[in-house]
């Protein structure tokens, strides 16, 4: 490979990626990604789930190594061995899920793993540590006692503590500090977000930032420049001043043949037979008074933001969160599922978002996973008919076009899309009448998504009913016959989404927030 020509922009950048590629089995996660962060700059990074943002962040923080391409820090080629190494070289990370240990004090958190500088003969000089921690907190203008336990702080303050912690890297990094902010606002209220943004702006003289968020308005608000990722590649680089939400959205989604993408022509009218009916369903503080009817062959999308109660509602339908009010009727019988086994018995199959944890037994073969939910029908006199099992598994692998070396291959070795097809095959083999699709295309590339859409269309045309929650509103609208919108635990809107007459995202968003 030819060495890249000396490039003034890259040389003056705090941090730059040049033509970085990264692949996992079956997924080309990053395709020739280049980006740069200038000194004191705040760079926004957006993209749908699966666009490659997290992989990119993991490469920047030393968790993954690029397959090809390089990382430049202050213009010099750098290798980040692991996250500690990235820290030493001036790349800090503030995580999406807050990473503070809530049972430790603020000061202990800030210097966790770096107590050596305060330690003599194995004894930590706590006074010195807390004095240093207080100085770090002053940098972010957070007025809390470093001896306070992290659990006693509100979320916004915890986020500031995380940034203060990242700022401790300043000293070691020789002035080249870049802080990655991974969805830092996802648990914050609007007013808290404003405070956070003001502090981040004030820190420009100390550090540069990469800001990752789903919230396009926030990215526009905070960033100087914005990179848009889609399907593993950077598809646009815009100055924030030249961008607006619709334009960012266009780049992020970037496809015109929507209807084709979601196989809308295959959307058949559903039948009259009601398979699931909820009347006034409630569960703790999560949702209340939820009523709907789900008919054979129908795809019912549930839209809502985090905390809207839709996650808990789907968990109720599969036996993880038994409802405590109202009635749930499945196939004409009133039910209250206290375990998944009860839901499975009544013909409900769960395609979970945590595919590799709850969807598949990764260390079992494809065949054993396909038959796992319906071993009973393969059992004669207590003995599993393995010949029949092989025959069934082979049939499903062919029917669903599962790309695997064989039916005895461990699911671990399959790509995400093929793993998801195994999960679907499991429930179809168990003759599920209702499928609960919980973010069914998360982490899949475009091709695999389309295959999943096609399969979902195929099973619904055979009369299987589907409840869908999804990462994107677009997917929810594109696939569903009907959409329920939830906010703060209640249904705020019901929209028909018949073929050729899909509601717009804007219509629904108004009822979500």
């Amino acid at each position: 490979m030819k060495a890249p020509a000396p490039n003034l922009e890259l040389a003056t950048s705090e941090l730059a990626l040049v033509n970085v590629n990264k692949s996992f089995p079956g997924v080309h996660a990053l395709k020739n990604v280049s980006m740069r962060v200038g000194r004191g700059e705040i760079v926004g990074l957006i993209g749908e789930n699966g666009a490659g943002k997290s992989t990119l962040m993991k490469i920047l923080s030393g968790v993954y190594q690029p397959d090809t391409g390089e990382i430049l820090i202050a213009g010099k080629r750098a290798v980040l061995l692991d996250s500690a190494d990235a820290n030493r070289k001036g790349v800090g990370m503030v995580f999406q899920e807050q990473s503070l240990l809530t049972n430790l004090t603020v000061g202990e958190n800030i210097y966790l793993g770096n107590e050596a500088q305060f330690t003599r003969f194995g004894i930590v000089d706590w006074r010195k540590l807390y004095a240093a921690a207080a100085r770090q907190l002053a940098k972010v203008a957070l007025d809390v006692d470093p001896r306070m336990r992290a659990e006693d702080l509100d979320f916004a303050s915890r986020q500031m503590v995380e940034i203060a912690k990242a700022l401790t890297l300043e000293e070691g990094a020789g002035g080249h500090l870049v802080i990655l902010l991974d969805e830092p606002t996802s648990v914050l209220e609007r007013a808290e977000v404003d405070v956070l943004f003001a502090r981040v702006r004030a820190l420009r003289s100390r550090a540069s930032f990469i800001f990752v968020s789903h919230r396009l308005d926030e990215v526009l608000d905070l960033s100087d420049r914005i990179y848009v990722m889609k399907d593993g590649a950077v598809v646009a680089e815009l100055a924030a001043a030249d961008a607006d939400v619709p334009r960012l959205h266009h780049w992020m989604v970037g496809r015109s043949l929507q209807a084709e993408y979601y196989r809308e022509p295959l959307q058949r009218p559903f039948k009259d037979e009601v398979v699931v009916e909820a009347k006034g369903l409630s569960y703790g503080q999560s949702y209340r008074d939820v009523s709907f009817k789900l008919r054979a062959g129908e795809i019912l999308g549930i839209a809502g933001v985090i905390g809207s109660g839709r996650e808990e509602l789907t968990r109720t339908l599969v036996g993880f969160a038994p409802h405590d009010g109202g009635t749930l009727t499945v196939g004409g019988r009133e039910e209250r599922f206290t375990t998944p086994a009860e839901a499975v018995d009544r013909g409900i199959g769960y395609i979970p978002r945590e595919r590799r944890v709850e969807g598949l037994v990764l260390f079992l073969p494809v065949a054993a996973n396909i038959t796992l939910a319906d071993l009973g029908s393969l059992t004669r006199y207590g003995i599993i008919d393995t010949g029949e099992e092989r025959r069934l598994a082979t049939t499903w692998v062919e029917r669903m076009n599962i790309r695997t070396p064989g039916i005895q291959t461990l699911c671990l070795n399959l790509s995400g899309g093929n793993q998801q097809k195994v999960v679907l095959a499991k429930w179809l083999n168990a003759k599920a009448r209702v499928l609960i699709l919980d973010h069914p295309t998360r982490g899949l590339d475009v091709g695999a998504k389309e295959e999943v859409y096609e399969l979902v269309r195929a099973v619904t045309s055979e009369g299987v009913a589907v409840v869908l929650t999804s990462d994107t509103l677009e997917e929810t609208i594109g696939l569903s016959h009907n959409v329920l919108v939830m906010r703060d635990g209640a249904i705020t809107h019901r929209a028909e989404a018949s073929r050729g007459a899909k509601p717009s995202q804007v219509d629904l968003i108004g009822h979500m927030v």
Partner: protein, 319 residues
């Protein structure tokens, strides 16, 4: 891709490592001591392995689904005491009684683990203490020798058919039954699924707790059977009869190639593991290693086997 094939190849190699070890050990000792390869010696080896194999088989079921049973040696000892105390009154009825005690103990361990959500090593460590003390109390802290009349009920253990010792035949029956249970029934499949990925098994409708409780019942039941056979062979019952058998049993399971983290394994592997332990023991006797020093070797072998059988890099956190 090359790395991927490399892993698969390595995994396949790992699978055959225990059997290769066994063959090499037997060949090695046979070369040094040709008498070792004579049928009589090999039958003696098989007889000596039977009890260890039965204990290890029971605990294999628990290890397969990701748990551990530390109460098996106390259970085996208690079973020997129960047999010794009741055989003169109950005759053959002493054996089902000992097995029933085992089943109840396993049921209690299993319920403590699943209902009270106590880690299995704590639940069974505690159960082991309870069983050991029970054996001490009911035996009056002594070894009970069986009289001639009682020994009459023990011929199914001590006898031989066509020159093959009955203990070996019992071991083969256990092998057959346990193999079918593990490899051909829903219980066996569910155990593997739970061991390899409990959340996915649960979400697929597997009644996880029921399978777990059953595994602990099997483990304690097989431990009781091992205790009965031990009582028969030694013609006595004692609260310390099976002492020092826990470590070799778990070592046998793991040396055979069953992953201590669950999900991967089989009864055949446990058989190979138990034979390796026996051969190593005999080898040490040939080499003149002090019998009390043998657990040093088994401890080292256990650590080595765990390190070799699982690719540790796949496990993020070890507790």
């Amino acid at each position: 891709m090359a790395a991927f094939i490399g892993t698969v190849g390595l995994d396949r190699l790992r699978q055959w490592l225990p059997l290769a070890t066994l063959v090499i050990l037997v060949a090695l000792i046979g070369a040094l001591q040709p008498v070792f390869l004579q049928p009589a010696t090999l039958l003696q080896l098989a007889s000596d392995t039977a009890v260890l194999f039965i204990l290890a088989t029971g605990v294999t079921f628990v290890i397969m689904l990701g748990g551990i049973d530390l109460s098996i040696q106390s259970m085996a000892s208690l079973a020997s005491v129960v047999v010794a105390l009741s055989i003169s009154r109950l005759g053959y009825g002493a054996f089902p009684l000992a097995l029933a005690v085992g089943a109840v103990a396993g049921l209690l361990s299993g319920l403590a683990h699943t209902r009270l959500r106590i880690p299995s090593f704590i639940a069974t460590l505690a159960m082991g203490g309870v069983l050991f003390s029970t054996a001490l109390v009911i035996s009056g802290e002594r070894s009970i020798t069986l009289d001639t009349e009682a020994r009459g009920y023990l011929t199914w253990i001590t006898g031989a058919i066509l020159g093959i010792p009955n203990v070996v035949l019992i071991g083969l029956v256990v092998l057959a039954v346990a193999h079918v249970l593990q490899a051909h029934t829903r219980f066996g499949r569910y155990s593997a699924a739970i061991g390899a990925g409990e959340p996915a098994a649960y979400a697929s409708g597997v009644k996880v707790n029921r399978q777990k409780v059953f595994a602990y019942v099997l483990s304690a039941g097989f431990a009781a059977l091992a205790g009965i056979i031990l009582a028969g062979r030694l013609a006595s019952g004692s609260p310390t009869l099976a002492a020092e058998m826990l470590l070799p049993s778990i070592a046998a399971v793991v040396v055979g190639g069953t992953a201590i983290t669950g999900g991967v394994g089989s009864i055949w592997r446990t058989l190979v593991g138990a034979l390796i332990i026996s051969v190593v023991r005999i080898g040490m006797t040939f080499l003149g290693v002090n019998i009390f020093a043998q657990n040093i070797v088994f401890g080292a072998v256990l650590i080595a086997a765990v390190a070799i059988t699982i690719d540790r890099s796949k496990i993020p956190i070890v507790k």
